[in-house]
């Protein structure tokens, strides 16, 4: 209404551009294509030759463009055929997605998902599913990430079960309307806040904790009474297909569905109108998701990542600190976790001691030959393996490796690596590492770490090992991050009373426990008035006396209001 006409054209162009620049990311983190496409993409990456793509990017349609896709898919001899086939596929993807949403919306409108009973039944089924199919889950994760059974049990199975149980235990309580006080200005009245489901929601999850990060938001969506579509990541294909199979078997398919697929399928889903989109993944795709949501005014929750710092003071219990850092970094999917410590900041003097401690505890955990250890995940795919290898092999970085760093391309394994004092402008300090490389940055004075952290985008988590209470207080006040943990890493995700979510570039919105329920609920304000208590001062014709009355009334000044009414003031 205000400035729509002028702004829209230029914004459209801009969003078009940013989307295109992000298609790589979409491909890498959310999407994947046939192997040949993967290779083509990697080559492009290696040569840094994005130029030929940009040529085609002037007026692309969001969020996925056929000409771009053709460029990736086309075989020299059958370009036209591919184009046609791909156009057909795009149309059918969109039709399928729109049909799916229509079915789910009908189901939601029937009111079935709103009942407490329905929600409880579904949640119980998920708990049962996780219990009964533990072995299948372990196997799938072993296939996708060589994730050690114990890790799978701790971080995927138990956490999912925990979320289910908590929701089951608390749901009644969560669903209860919250009574609130009303003010004198609406007397006599009563008011409450009612939680209602948003409708049909979309959950797009990621590959590093493909089971937990798919089901945890789905549990929230179900607890709040929504119909939900889950799009697991195709980069963890075994888990993706297991989720599709299990959910079909265990839960109500008229309201809960899984759509497997890559970019085309995701794009088709994003074109639909959802009542909420919950996305876990990269910043670049996060932008695409939010821009798609903007078209339908759909609220989003973006769970992104970031370079999470871990600051280590010299007054700490060194062994315990080292173990907790290792548990958070390499014990969590070998560093491929959005809350894993990305880099360490410590003082120059203390760095050698810390490195020694990390080295000896690493040996304790993963043995002399970490490449042989069964207790550590592998890198998810060749693309990420190459990305990490390149980070490590950058000129000024490679010579800074002080521990580990062995690689095995055939098994996609990278051993825990510690790097000391790498240049600030190296790629490894620019982007989120998301792998087993741990740079250590040294500062003169520990307090200098604040400036280092604040010079970068806000991370999802910030860790600080210290016994200094004053520094702790300063850290909380000066460092902005999704969450802060003192003297430990990653454990805050298991505390359901704490909201989990990012800020700034690490995302928006939070979940876990009651926060998950709230994330998928609309908080409806309800005010009950009676027919009595109608003051004529609310209504015209307006007089100075009414103005005096209102002034006192809105300020809660009862005496003043009475005076105004009786004409004394």
């Amino acid at each position: 209404m205000l400035f729509i006409a002028g702004i829209s054209s230029s914004l459209d162009t801009m969003s078009g551009l940013s989307i295109n620049n992000n298609l790589f990311a979409l491909h890498c983190r959310v999407g994947a294509g046939p192997a040949s496409v993967d290779r083509a993409l990697r080559n492009r990456f290696a040569n840094n030759s994005t130029a030929p793509l940009q040529k085609h990017q002037t007026h692309l349609s969001f969020p996925y463009h056929h000409r771009y896709w053709r460029l990736l898919c086309s075989q020299p001899c059958s370009a036209t055929l591919t184009l046609m086939a791909e156009e057909e596929k795009k149309t059918s993807d969109i039709e399928r997605a729109s049909l799916l949403v229509k079915e789910l919306r009908e189901c939601f409108d029937s009111g079935k998902t709103r009942s407490y009973q329905w929600r409880v039944t579904q949640l119980k089924s998920i708990a049962k599913m996780v219990e009964e199919r533990e072995e299948d889950i372990v196997t799938a994760l072993l296939k996708d990430l060589s994730k050690p059974e114990m890790e799978t049990f701790v971080s995927e199975i138990s956490m999912t079960k925990g979320s289910c149980k908590l929701a089951l235990k608390e749901l009644n309580h969560w669903m209860m309307p919250e009574k609130v006080k009303t003010s004198m200005s609406t007397f006599p009245s009563s008011a409450e806040i009612v939680s209602e489901p948003l409708g049909v929601v979309l959950v797009i999850s990621t590959w590093n904790y493909p089971f937990l990060l798919s089901l945890d938001p789905v549990i929230g969506a179900i607890a709040s009474g929504n119909a939900v579509v889950l799009k697991p990541s195709e980069i963890a294909p075994a888990t993706s297909s297991l989720l599709a199979k299990l959910l079909e078997e265990y839960v109500d398919n008229s309201a809960i569905r899984v759509v497997e697929g890559a970019i085309p399928e995701t794009s088709a889903l994003l074109e639909q109108k959802w009542d909420k989109i919950f996305y876990t993944g990269s910043k670049r795709v996060g932008r695409i998701v939010m821009a798609a949501a903007a078209k339908h005014l759909t609220p989003v929750i973006l769970e992104l990542g970031g370079k999470n710092p871990a600051v280590v003071d010299s007054n700490v219990n060194l062994q315990v600190a080292a173990r907790r850092i290792i548990a958070g970094k390499w014990g969590c999917n070998n560093g491929q976790a959005c809350i894993a410590p990305d880099y360490i900041i410590t003082t120059i003097d203390f760095a050698p001691k810390l490195i020694d401690a990390l080295r000896s505890e690493l040996k304790e955990f993963f043995g002399e030959e970490p490449m042989e250890s069964k207790d550590i995940s592998r890198i998810v795919n060749l693309y990420h393996f190459t990305r990490l290898k390149n980070l490590m092999e950058e000129d000024k970085v490679f010579q800074k490796i002080v521990v580990g760093g062995q690689i095995d391309q055939n098994q996609l394994k990278i051993a825990p690596a510690i790097l000391l004092d790498i240049p600030e402008d190296s790629q490894i300090m620019e982007e989120e590492i998301f792998g087993p490389l741990l740079p250590i940055i040294t500062v003169e004075n520990l307090k200098d770490s604040f400036a280092v952290i604040n010079s970068r985008p806000k991370p999802l988590a910030a860790y600080f090992f210290t016994d200094n209470e004053k520094l702790k207080k300063d850290f909380v006040e000066n460092i902005s991050a999704g969450g802060i943990v003192f003297n430990d890493t990653i454990v805050h995700v298991t505390v359901s009373t704490l909201p989990f979510g990012g800020v700034g570039e690490s995302g928006m919105g939070s979940y876990h426990g009651k926060f998950s329920f709230d994330a998928f609920s609309h908080k409806k304000a309800v005010l009950y008035r009676s027919f009595k208590g109608d003051s004529s001062t609310r209504y015209p014709p307006y007089t100075p006396g009414k103005q005096r009355f209102l002034k006192s009334f809105l300020n809660g000044d009862i005496l003043g209001a009475i005076f105004a009414l009786v004409g004394w003031s």
């Binding site: 205000l2 806040i193 430990d488 307006y542 809105l554």
Partner: protein
């Protein structure tokens, strides 16, 4: 070019101020809130003038809907802000003992507020109060469609509030576009769904969270009330709510009324009486009524009435005074449902009354349309109340009154679906402009060995028990007794 420089310069200044951390202190926040109170106190007359110039609002209306509301909110925030700022302790499972968990609210940083022209003072200052209470630096862009209020805010705010932290930038769409190119930590927008989409798309580029306060066709359901005097009260409240606040140009204004056939005429009669009593009978002399904001909106409303089948449904009013941009309170009975007046948000003094055979049909009627910002329902039937509550969706539901939810600080104000997302007022305003940072404090002892690899069966058993919070089992396991029992 000058505007670009202004935006860039202000942005840089705001970042610097935020980095200086002074906006975080309680003292700063309280001082700003007090400054708002003082501003309103000192300039009451100028505000009345500005609102009269832009919308011809009567001073009492201006006080009720703009100054008074903001005074109330600023006072409320002033008395609560310290409490809101305090970190909130949360319970932590025993397994983590000794640990401390808290939620620490922190300001987002630089926030951008776009306000709207219909309540140009309160829709600017109300979110500003939230942003300041939460410790942010702010750029406020008032609507250029209420130019007198916009320039009043631009001139006066720097005189009262910390001018390095709170800035007003005036302008139209060109400035809005420039502002949207910057990276904000939060954008708060009040306005139409069309512009809301543009704002959110721009925010997506910088991953900036947004709150969108949009509008929608807010219905009023009038059940057949057993007591005739109740119908009178309902009609009075409807007449006061429809034409009182800005002559229907309000996002929570009543858009249309749903009523059973048999009481439609009683309602219309009662509404007419109230109109005459409240606003007078002559379209040329409606001093208690705001005018239409501008020619464009006047024409838009006139076009709604131009449709012959719509014109035929007018049962009261309908006269227009183009020179003064005045439209008389107008009641329409059953205009066609596919006419624009029933498909678009009216945002003006036209009130369609739609009759139904049975008031129960209203549920389906509402559910076949986008979710409104508010649903008003006059009924004494508890079952029907419950039905409205659970079977429809809207930003808020108000029983037996209209508009009053706006002054209720304890209720969240905001939309759902097409009427927007995010909420504000009272504590919700503070939350809207705060990031809730999770803070967990652990100590170095005790250390639970089974957390770490290399993995073995004992550790697996331990973790299984730990996740069940089975402390007795854990004790048995640790003392070596578990295996004998297992």
């Amino acid at each position: 070019m000058e505007a670009v420089a202004e935006v860039g310069g202000s942005y840089a200044e705001l970042s610097q101020t935020f980095r200086s951390r002074r906006t975080r202190s309680v003292a700063w926040r309280k001082a700003q809130l007090q400054a708002i109170l003082k501003l309103l106190h000192d300039h009451e007359v100028q505000i009345f003038d500005a609102l009269h110039q832009d919308l011809r609002k009567h001073p009492v209306e201006s006080f009720r809907d703009e100054i008074g509301v903001v005074l109330k909110s600023a006072n409320y925030s002033l008395s609560c802000v310290e409490k809101w700022m305090a970190p909130k302790k949360v319970p932590i499972p025993l397994l983590f003992f000794p640990s401390k968990g808290e939620v620490f609210p922190e300001p987002f940083g630089l926030v951008l507020i776009f306000s709207s022209w219909n309540f140009p003072i309160s829709l600017s200052l109300e979110p500003l109060i939230g942003a300041i209470s939460a410790g942010n630096t702010v750029i406020l862009k008032p609507s250029d469609l209420a130019p007198a209020c916009s320039s009043f805010l631009a001139k006066t705010i720097p005189l009262y509030l910390d001018s390095n932290a709170v800035k007003v930038i005036e302008g139209g769409m060109d400035i809005a576009e420039k502002l949207l190119q910057q990276k904000w930590d939060k954008i708060f927008f009040t306005g139409s769904p069309q512009v809301g989409r543009i704002v959110m798309s721009a925010a997506a580029k910088h991953l900036t969270p947004v709150t969108l306060e949009l509008g929608g066709k807010c219905p009023t359901i009038l059940d057949s009330l057993p007591n005739p005097s109740d119908i009178k009260v309902a009609a009075k409240r409807i007449a006061g709510g429809k034409w009182g606040p800005c002559n229907g140009q309000a996002c929570i204004g009543i858009d249309y009324v749903l009523v059973e056939d048999r009481i439609a005429s009683a309602l219309i009669e009662s509404l007419k009486k109230n109109i005459n009593r409240f606003y007078g009978e002559n379209v040329n002399n409606l001093e208690n009524l705001s005018r239409i904001v501008n020619k464009q909106h006047f024409d838009r409303l006139r076009n709604l009435l131009d449709d012959p089948s719509v014109a035929a449904s007018i049962v009261h009013g309908g006269s227009l005074d183009e020179k003064n941009l005045m439209i008389e309170p107008t009641i329409l009975l059953n205009p066609p449902l596919d006419a624009e007046i029933m498909t678009e948000e009216i945002f003006g003094p036209l009130l369609p009354i739609i009759t139904l055979n049975n008031i129960q049909e209203s549920i389906e009627f509402l559910n076949s349309r986008p979710k409104p910002l508010a649903i008003y329902a006059f009924t004494k039937d508890e079952t029907f109340k419950k039905q409205i509550l659970t079977e429809t969706s809207s930003g808020s539901v108000i029983f037996n009154d209209v508009m009053v939810q706006f002054v209720c600080d304890t209720l969240p104000f905001g939309g759902v679906g097409q009427s927007g997302f995010g909420r504000y007022h009272g504590k919700y305003s503070f939350d809207t402009f705060s990031h809730e940072k999770a803070v967990l404090q652990r100590s170095f002892f005790p250390e639970l060995e089974p957390r770490y690899p290399p993995w073995n069966d004992f550790k697996m058993q331990f973790i299984r028990l730990a996740y069940r919070f089975d402390y007795f089992g854990l004790l048995l396991l640790l003392s070596g007794l578990k295996r004998t029992f297992a």
